[in-house]
Symmetry: C2
Subunit: 409 residues, 2 copies
Amino acid sequence: MAEITQVSPLAPKSFPDLPEIGGAEFSAVEAGVKYQGRKDVMLARLAPGSTIAGVFTRSATRSAPVLDCQDKILTDSDAGAAIIVNAGNSNAFTGRNGVKATKAVTHAVADCLSLPETRVFSSSTGVIGEPLPYDRITSKINELRSKLSAGSLVDAAEAIRTTDTFAKAAATEVLIDGTPVKIAGIAKGSGMIAPDMATMLVYVFTDAKVERDLLQSMLSELTDVTFNNITVDSDTSTSDTLLLAATGASGAVIHSGQGPFRDALHKVMLDLAHQVVRDGEGATKFVEICVTGAMNDADAKTHALSIANSPLVKTAVAGEDPNWGRVVMAIGKSGAKADRDLLSIRFGDVLVAENGWVSPNYREEDGAAHMKNQDLTINVDLGLRTGKATVWTCDLTHGYITINADYRS
Amino acid sequence: MAEITQVSPLAPKSFPDLPEIGGAEFSAVEAGVKYQGRKDVMLARLAPGSTIAGVFTRSATRSAPVLDCQDKILTDSDAGAAIIVNAGNSNAFTGRNGVKATKAVTHAVADCLSLPETRVFSSSTGVIGEPLPYDRITSKINELRSKLSAGSLVDAAEAIRTTDTFAKAAATEVLIDGTPVKIAGIAKGSGMIAPDMATMLVYVFTDAKVERDLLQSMLSELTDVTFNNITVDSDTSTSDTLLLAATGASGAVIHSGQGPFRDALHKVMLDLAHQVVRDGEGATKFVEICVTGAMNDADAKTHALSIANSPLVKTAVAGEDPNWGRVVMAIGKSGAKADRDLLSIRFGDVLVAENGWVSPNYREEDGAAHMKNQDLTINVDLGLRTGKATVWTCDLTHGYITINADYRS
């Protein structure tokens, strides 16, 4: 296994201050599931009355914990809830033993915290196809409970890392009818990132009071413009899980899927999604791809993801080459509607191509200058209708090859 | 631009003996379109009575020569025909000037060879978005004509190379009603290879007599099991063109889309398709992916291409890592039907996974031994119905990054 010691050059300058979320407590311990000498299991306890929404991978080979969460996520309950997550082993493609392991872990948590088992959600991330040594986790539940505290979300963010080079968290606060409401979330993920429905492991917590159906619809809609619009390598995990818990402890009640709470939640989710891209395996560039003028939003997203997933575009970005011909190629192959002679391409603000050819005023050095940025933008207008989409990706470098030709994931 | 000097380790041991095809003559010259000191333009002249079939990229941003070929391919004519191809500039995304350049070249050939312009097919391959200096080509047409000979197909194979590390050709002979029929073809391509409908540049010639509709239907069907089932990097070219010309010079008439002629044509096309993969940019491994037991053949192909295009599978192959978890992941994300608990995976003959988990008798060293081969096979049985597909790909290595982070294509 390749040693990954260097923090991504795209990592945020500092870890954010995380607020305490009333009704939510966290802890993390060293269980030695696979990694040694670091915390690798986290527990979250949510107060009675919390609502929980989730979105999950649509992979046909999804893991036992994902299937278990999907079974439970539509249940209503006034009991509290818990989320337990381990890193180092994904418990995916582990047959009946995988189901048994998931049940053993969730049962132990339910027992220890006096919760119904239907209110204990679990995730596992790491190597696929190896039996989960679940006794290493169940033997630590008492310790996890004893360490629960409102201030330990940072420990949870650390514990869920696998090939991540930095822990990922984001938070914000918003006033709802004069009451301050907090939102804080954590994420892990840096490879096998091309979310379909949800992505990676992400946990977001708020002290707002939000009825479950509303919480779920907001989460699903916002996932479509955040986590579902990022890609590192076009590969989709078997374990993608995103859970959103609302404890209601602030007393503020959310009645609408629009407005400041949704905006605040969007901000936290987008921040976490961008951090996942910024920790893309081997990444040296963060790329925003904006497509406008498509026949509809779905077509715009198809084009944007085709550009974002193209190995030839991603290697051109790595080489700081303003290779707009490869962008044209990626649009052409996407399957969505495009007219070669109507589309225009900009690198940042630099107009590169229009009317089916290179722009008459384009100078190669202007495009090259934009490509030297660490954060850069590729703007494509298709000139058809009003469909638009924005996706985020990173470049494809020797680092990605080095990590993945050796690391057993 | 990265210097590509080393021949792919997967190249065939030797260049094949190419038979002369009655009714077909070839030549190649140095025109300096982009490359210096090498032949970069080829001409083929086909005798009166030849039929021609073609398949082309479905890219929405396809090049001017592709659009021109598509306009002409359905025309019937007893006149002869010609194919002219340049390397170094793809004349793609070059606006109205691209159309003008294509017309200038095909007009000059028609004029020089006394052919109707509708019988002159052209292709261009190389950098996208730069004006084609077509006068460098038109000024060489007389020289190309004077050099035409039945034995010069090898020169044509050399002339159409861009990032190819070796010239690609294949040939066979088959008896039709006691008459020997010859088939010979050439191809170029090593990156931007994920054909959709057709692929790269490929030209196949036979001296059989085949009516145009039959020739076209055989070509389309065989493309679907040869060139449309290979992928190097999931990126689809704007210039993919495959032309098949039947001169009839042998006197043998083909009446059926089945039988020995089709089989012989299949063999030549598959050989060329494999050679394109074997020259995949940076490739060190040739991988055959066989999927059986799918709901239908289309589902099988979706799964097989999902595995073949997965960066995580391809880097695992590069690292000689029998990482079957990534194969499970690629099946899961493909969108085609799969049941996690019914599928089985073999590396070569080694049964790795079955019944939703690692096979009880699987030993890691057996899988690892198969991965050390230069040519290797990943077999997946989905356990559902009888759908099957085979695709071919190569690994993803540092060589691919090196070539594409620098080369302006």
